[in-house]
């Protein structure tokens, strides 16, 4: 506590105004001025707060606020200039420390001064629109210290230098840095930004520009990305330790721009280590890193996506055009599935299951699968192979998995109607030869197709299954009835096929052996007895037979053959030698089929139950055939039939395609009529667009074919051209 000073005046109540002696004001000020000095000199302990406060209060009350305020400004300024000198004098590393220490001091002083001058702060300051004491103190610090020309540049350079050193691996005093940057923020965010942040960002930009240039010359893509990621993390950590939080977004975008955005193309296309290589080698970690870094920059993900897409398209295109691959349809499809699996995995592990990437994958597959117009056929053959034997012993869930994957490929097909045709053919063969691995699997496939394409797509297929079941019942009925008194004649198993549901085959002639004919007629009589009004035609090109044969040394074998083959072999019950012509005459089997049939009986090792002269591979018109007494086989049961589904030969393929084209015409016409009926009048291009949209779930119609169908409809007076506008068509009711 200080001694009380003698006063020359009395403080009176508000009753009357007291004019204060100007000398008094000066004196009072001197007291306060002295106090300020003491505070700055760390001598505050000798001061009475209450007294000083009172003095300040009086000055303001007696309208000397202005004097007080300006006095404050002058005094503080003087002190700060002294402080500046001492900071400037600091050497090297001590500069920042000195600055920091003096800042601390100033803040403490400022607080005390503010407390003392609180009355002025609350009354005089606002009513005279002056800057409040605390803020004033900061501004003065800013103007006299930070912006003093000796300190300003040195401060910035020091900070930047420290940051640079830290970037190059040195350890720096982070606590000190934090204090300094906090000081700048306290002085105002524009001070922080102008005096530090902006130059910091510029310098960082050129630092990273240089570093990235250096890295990219010597690193491969994966390493570069690791370094970039590291730098990015470093900067974020730096901010959290000693920069203002708002700087994070700014500095990271600098790093992103310099290290990633500026080098995107080069990185992605880098030879031997770029994106394509990563994809091929399944480098999940590298890919994931690339994804996460690139998604921070504009166009980053689209760059990755575009390169991936063109890579997929290229690879896929090569796959479907490679003649080696096309030899084995099952392998072909398996490779497509493998390719899809591989990239699905990449997208899910490394690309965060990003939908846009999924879409790019799908569109690429759609593109190249349809480049090869045998894709529908091959996919059907793949399913055929699986259902025949590939899925043997596989669990139900795994079956579903395989079929679902196949369905994914199916969805990419543009010509789904072609697939349907082939699937029908292959299914027919499977059903009729009884060669399907699991009925459930077959059904499951049908259900999936139905879900995908609707009822019409699968109604015929389902019809085929129904026929098979019905035939079983029919056979039971047949054998129970009196028609089946055959004694020890051949045992017949008939499948009755509804014509509309099964693939159409022209029924070729074929003379069945007498024994067979007999039992067939019995069946026919039985069937037509219970189903009047129907017509039965024997499909000799689709049947099979099991024959017991005894060879030279008495060895017995059971031969499983096609119906055609059976007809040929039975001839040898009554003759040892037959010429081609004789066989042809007796059986009336069409030449192409007969030749294939004889080839499989006489020219295949291990299955040559017939002997041919001459021993050539091809069947000529004047060849002669003998029953091969010397035939041997390890197996009792020998399979010689040729009923397995195979990929079509060129002429068969041509024929199927023609049939598909023919089938499309009425579908296109029906679509045109449907559209015109509802729209009444429509222009040409709109019709083409609408028709394409309506039919796209089955196939992609050719605009030229659509045009021809329109012309055909004009000719048949379903449509006419508008008289005024020749591009417009009208529906004729």
């Amino acid at each position: 506590m200080s001694a009380q000073k003698k006063r020359n005046f009395k403080i009176e109540a508000f009753k009357h105004r007291v004019e204060v002696d100007p000398k008094y004001a000066e004196k009072t000020w001197k007291i306060l001025e002295h106090a300020i000095h003491e505070i700055y000199n760390h001598n505050a302990s000798g001061l009475s707060f209450e007294e000083l406060y009172r003095n300040a209060y009086n000055m303001v009350l007696h309208k000397y606020g202005e004097k007080l305020y300006s006095g404050l400004v002058t005094t503080m300024t003087w002190h700060l200039k002294e402080i500046a000198k001492s900071i400037e004098a600091a050497q090297g590393g001590l500069f920042l420390e000195e600055l920091n220490r003096k800042w601390g001091d100033h803040n403490k002083a400022l607080q005390m001064i503010r407390d003392i001058l609180m009355y002025m702060d609350r009354t005089f300051v606002p009513s005279n629109r002056k800057t409040p004491v605390h803020e004033l103190g900061l501004n003065l610090w800013r103007d006299n210290i930070i912006h003093s020309h000796k300190i300003q540049t040195r401060l910035l350079d020091t900070l930047l230098d420290l940051i640079h050193r830290e970037r190059t691996g040195e350890v720096i005093n982070r606590g000190l840095m934090r204090n300094i940057t906090k000081m700048l923020m306290d002085l105002g965010s524009s001070v922080y930004q102008e005096d530090f942040e902006r130059p910091f960002l510029e310098v960082s930009a050129s630092f990273y520009s240089g570093e990235s240039q250096q890295f990219i010359e010597c690193c491969d893509c994966g390493d570069y990305l690791k370094k970039a990621e590291r730098r990015l993390n470093e900067e974020m950590e730096r901010v959290s330790h000693y920069l203002d939080a708002k700087s994070e977004a700014k500095i990271t975008s600098v790093v992103e721009k310099e290290m990633i955005a500026n080098h995107m193309q080069r990185l992605v296309h880098m030879e031997n280590s770029g994106l394509v290589n990563m994809l091929v080698d399944d480098k999940y970690e590298d890919l994931s890193r690339m994804y996460n870094l690139f998604r921070r920059v504009p166009e980053g993900l689209s760059t990755i996506r575009d390169v991936m897409t063109s890579h997929l398209r290229e690879t896929g295109k090569q796959l479907v055009s490679d003649p080696e691959r096309l030899r084995d349809p099952v392998d072909f499809v398996q490779r497509l599935l493998d390719m899809k699996d591989k990239h699905d995995k990449i997208i899910s592990i490394a690309f965060n299951n990003d939908k846009t990437f999924q879409n790019a994958l799908n569109s690429s597959f759609e593109y190249f699968i349809n480049l090869n117009n045998r894709s529908p056929e091959f996919i059907s053959l793949y399913v055929d192979d699986k259902l025949r034997k590939g899925l043997k012993g596989v669990t139900e869930e795994d079956v579903e998995v395989v079929l679902d994957k196949v369905m994914m490929l199916f969805r990419y097909l543009q010509e789904k109607d072609v697939f349907e045709k082939y699937y029908k053919q292959h299914l027919a063969k499977r059903l009729l030869s009884g060669k399907t691995v699991s009925d459930d699997a077959e059904r499951s496939m049908i259900v999936k197709l139905k879900t995908e394409c609707g009822y019409q797509f699968t109604s015929k297929l389902e019809g085929m299954f129904t026929d098979m079941r019905t035939s079983q019942d029919t056979m039971q009925g047949f054998y129970a009835s009196q028609y089946s008194e055959t004694g020890d004649g051949p045992t017949l198993a008939v499948q009755v096929l509804t014509t509309g549901s099964w693939p159409t085959q022209p029924s070729a002639p074929c003379n069945l052996p007498a024994e067979i004919l007999g039992v067939c007629e019995k069946f026919r009589a039985y069937y037509l007895g219970t189903h009047t009004g129907r017509r039965l035609t024997w499909q000799t090109n689709m049947g099979t037979a099991d024959i017991k044969a005894t060879f030279g040394k008495g060895q017995k074998h059971e031969l499983n053959v096609s119906t055609y083959q059976m007809c040929v072999l039975m001839l040898f019950n009554s003759a040892d030698r037959l010429s081609y012509k004789e066989i042809e005459q007796a059986t009336e089997i069409p030449a192409a089929d007969l030749k294939r049939c004889l080839q499989s009986l006489a020219c295949v090792k291990g299955k040559n139950v017939l002997r041919k002269e001459p021993m050539s591979k091809d069947i000529a018109e004047d060849d002669a055939f003998y029953f091969n007494d010397k035939f041997t086989s390890k197996f009792i049961k020998v399979k010689i039939g040729t009923v397995v589904a195979q990929k079509e030969s060129e002429p068969e393929k041509h024929e199927t395609r023609q049939r598909v084209e023919e089938d499309r015409k009425p579908q296109i016409e029906a679509a045109i009529v449907r559209i015109m009926k509802s729209r009444r009048v429509l222009d040409h291009n709109s019709i083409v667009t609408e028709v394409t949209t309506q039919l796209q779930s089955r196939f992609l119609p050719n605009p030229v074919v659509i045009k021809k169908r329109i012309e055909s409809l004009i000719e048949r007076e379903f449509l006419e051209r508008d008289k005024a506008d020749r591009k417009l068509y009208r529906y004729l009711a």
Binding site: N685, K707, I714, R721, R726
Partner: protein
């Protein structure tokens, strides 16, 4: 009737239309677009019988020959097509009684002399855009076999040669060539009528041909043919 030289029927028409005012009737009469001259139906019968086939109630090939002779025109002269059009003849080289008589009536002739005098004006009708189009489109139904929907290629080519001699189209020969080489089938009605539009609106260098222009497929093929053989340069 005395002033205008018209028939009683027409005079009555004119008077009725003008509310029995004489002056109005004259106005009405002279503003009529087509003044049909009177034909004597007895003369028409005689004329028909001159050309009619002895066994059938139709004018057949010989009769047509004779008619052409009398008219002093060649049988292949295109004016005969115009005549047929006026007669609304169903098929070429034949006229039924109805067709012949009402045809001549609508032409306003009842004698060979009058008919002959009419020939130049009939020829002139081909120069009229609208009439030419009607005649052209009429020719399709007239030239084809009755039972068929389409026109046999040879006949079509012959007709085109004839018609485009009147209304010059520089690509007509290429068109006919193209058809014989590539198409070799009958021509549909739509193709026939659209060809005229094509010839009228598309310039011979095909600069304004639009592939999206809903032209019949055959015409699109023709354009391809022209490009392929370098007859027209692909410029667009």
């Amino acid at each position: 009737m005395a002033i205008t030289g018209t028939s009683e029927k027409v005079a009555l028409q004119a008077l009725k239309a003008s509310d029995w005012h004489l002056e109005g009737a004259f106005d009405f009469f002279y503003s009529q677009p087509q003044i049909r001259a009177v034909t004597d139906s007895r003369h028409l019968e005689e004329l028909y019988n001159r050309y009619k086939d002895p066994y059938v109630d139709m004018i057949m090939v010989d009769g047509v020959s004779l008619l052409c002779n009398d008219l002093q025109v060649e049988p292949q002269d295109i004016v005969m097509l115009v005549v047929s059009w006026h007669m609304k003849a169903a098929t070429m080289c034949e006229f039924s009684r109805q067709e012949f008589i009402s045809g001549l009536q609508s032409l306003g002739v009842d004698s060979i002399e009058k008919f002959r005098e009419k020939i130049p004006s009939l020829r002139a009708e081909l120069k009229d855009e609208n009439k030419f189009r009607e005649i052209y489109n009429f020719a399709f139904g007239w030239a084809k076999d009755q039972g068929q929907k389409s026109l046999a290629l040879d006949t079509a080519i012959g007709m085109w040669q004839l018609l485009f001699a009147e209304k010059h189209w520089p690509l007509v020969d290429y068109w006919c060539q193209f058809l014989q080489v590539r198409h070799n089938k009958a021509i549909s009605r739509d193709t026939w009528s659209q060809l005229l539009e094509f010839a009228k609106t598309i310039d011979p260098q095909l600069s304004n041909y639009d592939a999206e222009g809903a032209w019949p497929y055959l015409i699109d093929e023709f354009v391809e043919y022209l490009f392929e053989n370098g007859i027209v340069q692909r410029g667009n």
